[in-house]
């Protein structure tokens, strides 16, 4: 791209971040993801302002009632409003996912940076640890961790965070190792830069693409993990609502057959959210890949 065309098209010089955003917004699947996800997020965050029922409020006149004008998504066996529980469950699920991914991203980046800049010995030790963490069967590891940590929001966050950092630390390490030998990083070292400067002025900006993409896709994964754990009774325990433990009610054959609104809506919410986040993640990945400009 020449200087002239850059200026005439963009009006002002575009940084690499701006160009990536431009690519993201011209990706149709990613936009569909946004269109699904953003309203869902808004609804989940603001629901106490516009929905009359609380997640644990009991309406004894409506036990196991189907969708109606009063209870849009019906009510469950003890008369709680399914939509209210669904939205509260969304809060829990997304909160658990976002916080656990934030924690695991920080751990992943720190371990990766440590391995890349700590010298051969540190690198060897930490990568063998990562190998070890990655060879553990995830389901069993998750169940053991969950049974140690117990149920509730904080332990669930901890369990998911501890499970998902190794892959990111691998990717960050690989990126930083490659970056360390790049001329502009050598130039910074030649000007006296310490590890902190190299890491935060060069390392982080140049690995932000893999971190953002990984974190986004990992949020979808964490929503599923949380749902799985809660379904098994190891994640979020009732009466606290989460999509996983709402699906748990479908284990009863009576609910499965006669009251489908009690599990269908949380199931649909889960599927739509995960799908939307995955679309967004794929869009971000393509946006950050400079070669996608060629298409």
């Amino acid at each position: 791209m020449t200087v002239v065309s850059m200026q005439t098209i963009a009006g002002k010089p575009a940084g690499p971040m701006r160009r990536a955003l431009g690519r993201f917004f011209s990706n149709r699947a990613a936009l569909v993801g946004l269109v699904i996800f953003v309203p869902m997020l808004l609804a989940v965050v603001t629901y106490p302002l516009w929905w009359p029922y609380g997640p644990n409020a009991i309406d004894l006149t409506a036990l196991n009632k189907g969708p109606s004008a009063k209870h849009w998504f019906g009510s469950d066996g003890v008369g709680r409003d399914v939509l209210a529980r669904l939205l509260q469950g969304g809060r829990t699920s997304l909160m658990v996912a976002v916080v656990s991914v934030a924690i695991s991203t920080v751990i992943g980046f720190v371990v990766g940076a440590f391995a890349a800049f700590g010298g051969r010995f540190v690198d060897g030790i930490s990568m063998r640890l990562v190998d070890l963490a990655m060879t553990l069967p995830p389901v069993i590891f998750l169940l053991v961790l969950a049974s140690i940590a117990g149920t509730g929001i904080a332990p669930t966050i901890l369990v998911i965070a501890l499970l998902s950092w190794p892959v990111l630390s691998r990717m960050v390490r690989a990126r930083l190792l490659e970056l360390r030998e790049r001329d502009f990083v050598v130039a910074a070292r030649g000007m006296g830069a310490g590890v902190g400067h190299l890491l935060f002025r060069h390392g982080l900006p140049n690995s932000i693409d893999i971190i953002v993409v990984y974190a986004t896709l990992q949020i979808a994964n964490a929503v599923l993990l949380e749902a799985g754990l809660s379904f098994l009774g190891l994640g979020i325990a009732p009466p606290e609502a989460s999509w996983g433990n709402m699906l748990n009610s479908a284990r009863s054959a009576a609910v499965l057959e006669h009251f489908p609104w009690q599990w269908m809506f949380p199931g649909a919410a889960l599927v739509l959210t995960v799908l939307a986040i995955n679309f967004i993640g794929d869009g971000l990945r393509d946006a950050f890949d400079p070669r996608s400009d060629l298409n």
């Binding site: 010089p13 575009a14 051969r120 010995f121 790049r182 050598v186 000007m191 006296g192 830069a193």
Partner: protein
């Protein structure tokens, strides 16, 4: 003789195989010694793989030499602690070969130029900006380049930015590592003239690495000819180009294209490739390609001997050197 600005003694560099893996230890530099007087430009020439870049980077401690000392005044750069080295770094800067790899794609030119001042905590924001703009002016780029990104500039402009990044630190010493070999020929002249002009104006001491002998002849006061990590010959530029003594230097010089057809006869073509530094020939490393090699060349490593004032060569064939 007054003490030179920079004095390199016995510089060696070996690369050992990675931990837990086998492989040969590669000697990239062996016992390199030379001086650079203040305000002079010393050229380092040699084929690819002869260790030119390794010398440049070892002097600036971008890689750690295995042995030897690099005296800059009274300080031995090769032995400084990280904290001491940090302070000394503002005196010496590096200009890179590849103008596309050497500028961060995620930083504006302003950020790139002020990075060193930032690291060294020189001045405040406004002062750093003034210094960066002055450096842009020195390399004849407009001040509005400050807020733009590197990808908006051409190769030649980028290389000027690379030079400005070195100058902004107000260094005494610059290692220019093939600063023009990645550029178009038409741009090369501009950048070389700029470098030459700046060197004179700012009284810079410079180590100029190149494989382009015409450029070296133009810009350097002294030339060092390198082959497989050893110095083959060193002499003042005029002397070296007029009276090359070492067979390798003669072969190099005869390879310079000449516009004069009458001069095109004495072309001497070297056969074979530069040997692997992992398995160098015994004795003189050049003997495998030298047209004048004799049995004794395989026995002894030729010392670098002074054969005329300031003219040294590493060859045991006195008869060849005298020609």
């Amino acid at each position: 003789m007054t003490t030179p600005f920079l004095s390199v003694r016995g510089l060696s560099k070996q690369f050992k195989p990675a931990a837990f893996s086998s492989g040969p230890t590669v000697t990239v530099l062996k016992d390199i010694s030379f001086d650079i007087p203040r305000g002079e430009v010393v050229g380092l020439v040699g084929e690819s793989g002869s260790g030119k870049t390794t010398i440049g980077r070892s002097i600036l401690r971008l890689i750690d030499p295995t042995a030897g000392e690099v005296m800059m005044g009274e300080t031995d750069i090769a032995r400084l602690s990280p904290a001491q080295l940090r302070v000394q770094r503002r005196r010496m800067q590096y200009v890179f070969q590849d103008p596309f790899a050497s500028l961060s794609p995620r930083m504006t030119i302003g950020q790139i130029l002020t990075e060193g001042l930032d690291i060294q905590r020189i001045g405040n924001r406004a002062e750093r900006r003034i210094r960066a703009e002055r450096a842009l002016e020195l390399v004849e780029l407009p001040a509005d380049a400050f807020d733009r990104y590197a990808h908006e500039f051409s190769g030649g402009q980028r290389q000027r930015i690379g030079i400005a990044r070195a100058l902004v630190m107000e260094p005494e010493f610059i290692v220019a590592d093939e600063p023009v070999s990645a550029l178009d020929v038409s741009i090369q002249a501009q950048v070389i003239n700029l470098l030459r002009d700046l060197q004179v104006r700012l009284n810079l001491t410079m180590l100029f690495i190149s494989h382009d002998l015409a450029v070296v002849e133009y810009i350097c006061d002294t030339v060092i000819v390198l082959y497989l990590g050893r110095i083959m010959e060193t002499a003042p530029t005029a002397e070296l180009f007029a009276r090359p003594r070492h067979p390798y230097t003669r072969a190099l010089l005869s390879a310079i294209p000449s516009p004069d057809p009458a001069q095109r006869q004495a072309r001497q073509v070297l056969t074979g490739d530069i040997p692997s530094p992992a398995n160098p020939p015994s004795g003189c490393v050049f003997r495998t390609r030298c047209p004048f090699a004799i049995a004794a060349c395989a026995e002894t490593v030729p010392p670098l001997r002074e054969i005329a004032a300031g003219h040294k060569a590493a060859c045991i064939r006195d008869d060849i050197l005298a020609q």
